[in-house]
């Protein structure tokens, strides 16, 4: 496996007339946890969808494991996706299947394993996320944290080379949060995966990230190891890491001043 698993060059992407990325370059190192952080609306989830080939960039290229994602034929893209796991913010479990069948789904689709082998594999994956006894539950019976753990087990089902986590910590209680942080770290190290962790939860993300990339207004504004980011004196980085309300990212939405608005007659 090369040192750099994902290489993004000159990425431009526009959605609904809004420029999301304007010339983004980044390298995701193999075998490391890379956190992609930034304020809400900076296109972090969009970046994951671009890496997974679900969206097409206006310009630029994304190479995953040496392959240009957006020039692959459908069959080759699907082949590559089998090596990519993705944990969606909502879990994205199939609501008409129980926990067991959700995890067995990719195995049944892509392998010719016998049902007894699939059963063993599913239970092992569930055991890894601490939910082997919950395999008969339906997704609606799971808490938010449990649903994400099941989704993680499903993402691991095909033994991928990398996993993309989309906001895994959002809306979790402190116990679930702790469990997820530990699981992501343990999974990455035990299975020697490459992890991309998209999040704006600074404390939890920085506690496990090896590398950090901070995005804002369509550009990479800072990148480096966790320690480099924590010690950075850049105003952008400090505002984000320290959670300051005002700074280079303004508190007020751009537009006319309040004085001018108050003087205007209502339309």
């Amino acid at each position: 496996m090369p040192d750099t698993l994902i290489q993004i060059r000159d990425l431009h992407f526009t959605r609904a007339h809004k420029k999301i990325f304007a010339g983004v370059n980044m390298d995701i190192k193999a075998g490391r946890i890379t956190a992609v952080m930034g304020p809400s609306g900076t296109g972090k989830t969009t970046l994951l969808k671009l890496i997974g080939g679900q969206l097409k960039p206006d310009q630029g290229e994304i190479q995953v494991d040496g392959q240009n994602v957006h020039q692959l034929k459908r069959a080759d893209l699907y082949k590559l996706r089998k090596k990519m796991g993705m944990l969606f913010q909502s879990g994205a479990l199939l609501t008409d299947l129980n926990v067991f069948d959700n995890i067995a789904y990719p195995l049944r689709e892509h392998t010719n394993l016998s049902e007894s082998m699939i059963r063993s594999m599913v239970l092992i994956k569930l055991q890894a996320v601490g939910l082997s006894t919950a395999h008969k539950l339906m997704p609606a019976e799971l808490s938010g944290g449990m649903a994400r753990r099941v989704a993680l087990a499903r993402a691991l089902a095909l033994d991928p080379m990398m996993i993309m986590y989309d906001e895994p910590f959002t809306g979790q209680d402190p116990i679930s949060l702790g469990v997820l942080v530990k699981l992501i770290q343990d999974t990455n190290h035990a299975l020697k995966l490459t992890s991309i962790l998209v999040s704006h939860d600074v404390e939890e993300t920085l506690s496990i990230a090896d590398e950090v990339i901070i995005l804002s207004e369509g550009k990479v504004i800072a990148e480096g190891s966790r320690d480099e980011i924590l010690q950075s004196q850049s105003e952008w980085v400090r505002q984000f890491v320290d959670g300051k309300a005002d700074g280079p990212v303004p508190f007020h939405y751009p537009g006319d001043s309040i004085e001018k608005q108050l003087m205007q007659a209502p339309k």
Binding site: G52, Y78, K82, M84, L93, Y105
Partner: protein, 250 residues
């Protein structure tokens, strides 16, 4: 002008989507259990409303026609008229309208919610094509179910007509059935009705799955897509009924 361009763009997207669905159908013969499960949810669960509505439509037809036919002393033709009305027209059309309201709206809402909760994206990232696994089985199930439901609607309607005409209003039972046997043509009447229901099944299922797949993935987006499915399907069925009737019976 902008509305026209938007409409044509959606029609184009819908047509491309239909081509992808049709391309995915041969795969389904290897996984026919996916279709059977959907036939249950789309077809079998619509059966009750079809049975009840068919019965009442047949009973009302018999009452109305009997009132007019007795004026001319022609009440023996009641069975024939009830049968022709149902088999040629009301069976396929009313069954399609009920199907759009019951099954079409459910299909749109289900697919729309799967999109809103990222289940479709999740399948794509598992290297599974959602059009092959989720959309095509639902489309095929709708397409197969409606002709059967329309046939059941017509059959129950004729029984309803018999109950009112023969048991309640005193029309001769032998005349009721023999007129049907003598005058209803299999090709001109029954087969044309079946062709209509096949076309309606295709249109309603296409609109329902497309609206779900193409909806804005929010609560409001799913709600308006569901409404559009019912409105567009109903109008398409009625419009297409006129076209088909003009071709078949003139």
């Amino acid at each position: 002008m902008k509305a026209l361009i938007n409409m044509l763009t959606r029609l184009g997207r819908g047509s491309l989507f239909l081509i992808k669905i049709l391309a995915g159908i041969p795969q389904l013969f290897l996984r026919f259990n996916l279709v059977i499960r959907q036939v249950y949810s789309v077809g079998v669960q619509t059966l009750l409303i079809i049975l009840v509505a068919g019965l009442f439509v047949g009973m009302v037809l018999a009452l109305q026609l009997h009132y007019t036919l007795t004026t001319f002393g022609a009440e023996d033709t009641l069975g024939l008229l009830v049968d022709l009305s149902l088999v040629r027209e009301l069976g396929p059309v009313v069954a399609a309208l009920l199907f759009a309201g019951r099954a079409g709206s459910a299909l749109t809402a289900e697919i729309g919610l799967m999109k809103a909760t990222e289940q479709l994206s999740g399948l794509e990232m598992m290297a599974v094509d959602p059009i092959e696994r989720i959309i095509a089985p639902r489309f095929l199930a709708g397409f197969l179910s409606l002709p059967l439901l329309a046939a059941i609607f017509s059959a129950v309607g004729i029984l309803g007509g018999y109950m009112v005409g023969v048991d309640l209003l005193g029309v001769d039972s032998g005349a009721f059935w023999s007129q049907i046997q003598a005058k209803v043509d299999f090709y001109d009447d029954v087969l044309n009705g079946v062709i209509k229901s096949i076309v309606f099944g295709f249109i309603v299922s296409w609109i329902a799955v497309f609206e779900g797949y193409d909806c804005v993935p929010t609560s409001e987006g799913v709600a308006s897509a569901t409404t559009r499915t019912v409105v567009h399907s109903s109008l398409a069925v009625l419009g297409m009924d006129f076209v088909l009737t003009a071709i078949m019976f003139n």
